[in-house]
Subunit: 376 residues, 2 copies
């Protein structure tokens, strides 16, 4: 129950042990079509350019920024979490100029601040984080943000690493131009092939770049040849990871994407009710609460590292500490994909109560379980 | 028996279905040490900077060129195969200037030509392909090439994608500064985590770059933090692929690297003897023959595509056609890792003889099997 990799469903683990076919084998080409269709379903998009990138989530992130950002472009990125900083670094390496829209760590972006930043800087591209893994904050008002960007003729790139397949995300309805994700969060798939989708507007910019993108491996104009109609060789795809991603996405489709969002909200809601009944506080207010990543304030006088070690050593359960500005201030507790189940929440509450008691904090495990039980 | 992915050993497939731990879990950190030690053994190097890159072979290739090449550097690349062209494209994207040393497709580089190219262009970096998958040519005289480069103060980057773990390769003894490879060739591991090694001389250049490398994902100065002493978070590693690579490398160590080279030479030698006994011709002369990738000339009047389809459909056996300058001229038959076994060679010879007979070419399967048998 850390920030990912999340627990993998046995069917997906089994898919990982399938013998390999070649990356140009007719059987694999059919499987590529399946994966693309299932990714479209999960992203809620009709985008033709919907593929798994051959690397972990940060590779999909760099494929997005490295292709959409041309040297000289101005790119607006947020400062309210760890991953805005990563965006800035990727943009600079792509030859773009970074401008920022500010919000404190642990808060979402305010549309008014985004509007101001657009009026001041007139950026060409706007990146934002839909679900911030470092702070447990879900960005609300996404359609408002994309409206602002489009009225300034900018492209919108959304980091959906910790939302895809776990919380409501509607790429087409919300008019997001580019979205990328990881496999190892709410899709509960081993990392190594990472979802990316671009609409025609974004792909048109990519295909009409004056200068080639700075990565050959992640060049979408070349990947088009492999994932598009031609099926021509670019690089060897991570065959096994694509098998696994297909199986993980099939599980999403079998459950139904809206039912899956509802399950995450219900099960993580039980987790939240439980920790609150122990007297702990969520870092994000309810309006911005991110069910897939629960940021819980470390109580006064408690050593977060000791708690994390205790639950790992005694219960074989992973939770994580804060990152960046929130280091030492929060626990990060994942509730993602196959991990979002009653038994995990019940174990977590019991283990956490024990670890807090060890630290001299009075945690009422009974109250926590009672509060959680109703929603499980 | 195509050019890769090669058949994966059951132990490696089983490792792929191991449940995941986090990329910062103490258990995973131990496993990272194992993988690094086993990679050093396989590369025949003591290099500290020996890691699996989080992507397929081309990601390791771009990690090599993208970090070692600084904007303004002159880089010498070969023209004698498909992968020299890929090097050139990566070098240009890294901001380097490409100069070439020529040799025809299907021939290795001549040290005299390399010497001339050095005298003319004074390159900062020299890339060459140790085992050319597109032509089935093994580059001999590697120490001669590295000597030339070092006497001109240049760094040497070797593409060992189709040699690592299959044919003799001695990174330290041959004084190669940087070598990269893939998992899915002679290591018989699913692609997704790819070997890379750099000596201190190369890493010193990487760590003293004036400008950051153009990829965040593949920036070795950042990856140093994760794979080095600190173990600090950079990106989520492809956990499962690292499990698999460890198991594949354990199989290398159990067999012994020199025994493994000898097995490839013996089994592929049987394959070669067999196709020659059918009257077919190898594309490379014996001095440059690459056991892991056998390039066999397509006989006059035979349709290579029909042969490839026939052996795939009737025998479920993959072989490949030529690439680039050799398209239509050769079959490419892999004999790699777990695939380099008597049963595969015997099946290949029988299936190929059948497919050629279908095309009106008289192939004596009995003679082929008799010629192969002695070495199997």
């Amino acid at each position: 129950m850390g920030p990912g990799p999340s627990p993998v469903h046995p069917r997906v683990l089994r898919a990982m042990s399938t013998p390999l076919v070649g990356h140009l084998d007719p059987a694999f080409v059919e499987l590529m079509d399946d994966v693309q269709d299932l990714l479209r379903y999960t992203f809620r998009t009709e985008n033709q350019w919907t593929i798994p990138v051959s690397g972990t989530g940060s590779a999909a992130m760099e494929a997005a920024f490295g292709n959409v950002v041309e040297p000289g472009d101005t790119v607006l990125v947020p400062t309210n979490g760890y991953f805005g900083g990563r965006m800035a670094s990727m943009v600079e390496r792509a030859g773009g100029e970074v401008v920022e829209v500010d919000a404190p760590w642990g808060e979402p972006l305010d549309p008014a601040a985004v509007q101001d930043a657009f009026d001041t800087h007139q950026p060409d591209v706007f990146g934002f984080v839909h679900a911030e893994t470092s702070t447990g904050v879900l960005q609300p008002n996404v359609p408002e943000l994309t409206d602002i960007a489009h009225s300034h003729d900018a492209l919108v790139v959304a980091d959906t690493v910790t939302s895809l397949g776990g919380v409501e995300l509607k790429v087409d309805e919300w008019d997001v131009d580019v979205a990328y994700s990881g496999a190892q969060k709410c899709l509960s798939c081993p990392p190594g092939a990472s979802p990316l989708t671009l609409n025609d507007r974004a792909m048109e910019k990519v295909l009409s770049r004056e200068e080639e993108s700075r990565s050959w491996y992640l060049d979408l104009s070349l990947l088009e040849g492999y994932w598009g109609e031609e099926r021509s060789y670019h690089h060897t795809a991570p065959i096994t990871n694509v098998y696994a991603l297909r199986e993980a996405l099939r599980l999403v489709a079998e459950e139904g994407i809206e039912e899956r969002w509802a399950r995450h909200e219900r099960v993580a809601g039980a987790l939240k009710a439980g920790v609150e009944a122990m007297g702990l506080e969520m870092n994000a207010p309810d309006e911005y609460w991110l069910p897939s990543l629960n940021a819980v304030r470390v109580p006064e006088g408690v050593d977060d590292g000791a708690v994390i070690d205790h639950v790992l050593e005694k219960y074989d359960l992973e939770i994580a500490s804060g990152l960046g500005d929130l280091e030492g201030d929060i626990f990060r507790i994942g509730c993602m994909g196959h991990g979002a189940r009653a038994e995990n929440v019940t174990l977590l509450l019991g283990a956490l109560a024990d670890a807090l008691e060890e630290q001299g904090y009075e945690a009422d495990a009974g109250a926590a379980l009672a509060a959680a039980r109703d929603q499980l």
